[in-house]
Symmetry: C2
Subunit: 137 residues, 2 copies
DNA sequence: ATAAACCCTATCATTTTTATAGACTTTATA
DNA sequence: TATAAAGTCTATAAAAATGATAGGGTTTAT
């Protein structure tokens, strides 16, 4: 399951996607619209900004806005950013690799082999579904 | 990522699959082979038993054994049992459905729609990969 | 009778996630 | 140029989930 962080991020991105005609959107507006804590959402939007997905404008009249096309924001990117690895095991993660303590030899581990396949097929899904898919339904 | 519980379960199932010639296998042997806590593993094997995946024999000379064919033990079953939902959001879970608090209307929520698609495609993968795939590599 | 081995429930420790707090900086505008 | 609005940043606290341990109970081969 996705963490609330990622879930909130998706709601925020959706909201921003639906308000692309406006220059900026307030954290407060998104938070209120979904009943999310303003301060919690603040941290999330900041992370999305640092990742190059959102832009922001400070000061009075400021706010957040999408800096990328919805079609260029795949679910995989959002999930990795806020939840970490997409792989089911650390020993098959592309971005967060770590060996598994209970595995004696990765090279001959059947679990490892199968999980690599699962990872690749899962990535195909999550890289192809984008914010655009969420917006167009 | 999978919890350690699920990861250990997969290792235990793999071990049991490799020792199908023996009548029973001791918890202790599996635990030692992978450096897992005996007691923790005990709980896991018990759950696998209650789920109808393993059988056991009590008393001296007892132990655990696979009660199903490896090809009939899909990853989806093991993951659901020990980790819970495969869906990324509670509002699209087939087995553990719950509404999402921050979603005003599921029927018109684009996130919901896309996550249903992700769930279905993910299930296709996890229902088709079985213990057999792990054993044969 | 005894020892081996699984069965069951409760509890504790650790880690991760979720949420909050508050001071700081930037900027529009009256 | 003072003020209020709005994002930035770091720290910490609260809650939940996960991982691990403990110990007594029951079954069974010998």
């Amino acid at each position: 399951m996705l963490s609330k962080k990622t879930k909130y991020a998706l709601h925020a991105l959706t909201y921003l996607g639906k308000h692309r005609d406006e220059k900026t959107v307030l954290i407060q507006d998104i938070a209120e619209d979904h009943g999310i804590s303003h301060k919690f959402l603040e941290n999330i939007l900041l992370e999305l900004k640092k990742a190059g997905i959102l832009g922001s404008k400070k000061g009075k009249g400021g706010g957040y806005y999408l800096i990328k096309e919805p079609k260029d924001i795949p679910l995989s990117k959002v999930i990795r950013l806020l939840d970490g690895p997409i792989a089911l095991l650390p020993c098959v993660s592309l971005n967060y690799y770590e060996p598994c303590a209970e595995c004696k030899d990765e090279a001959t581990c059947g679990i490892n082999k199968v999980m690599i396949q699962v990872r690749d097929e899962t990535l195909k899904i999550l890289e192809n579904k984008t914010l655009e898919d969420i917006l167009k339904t």
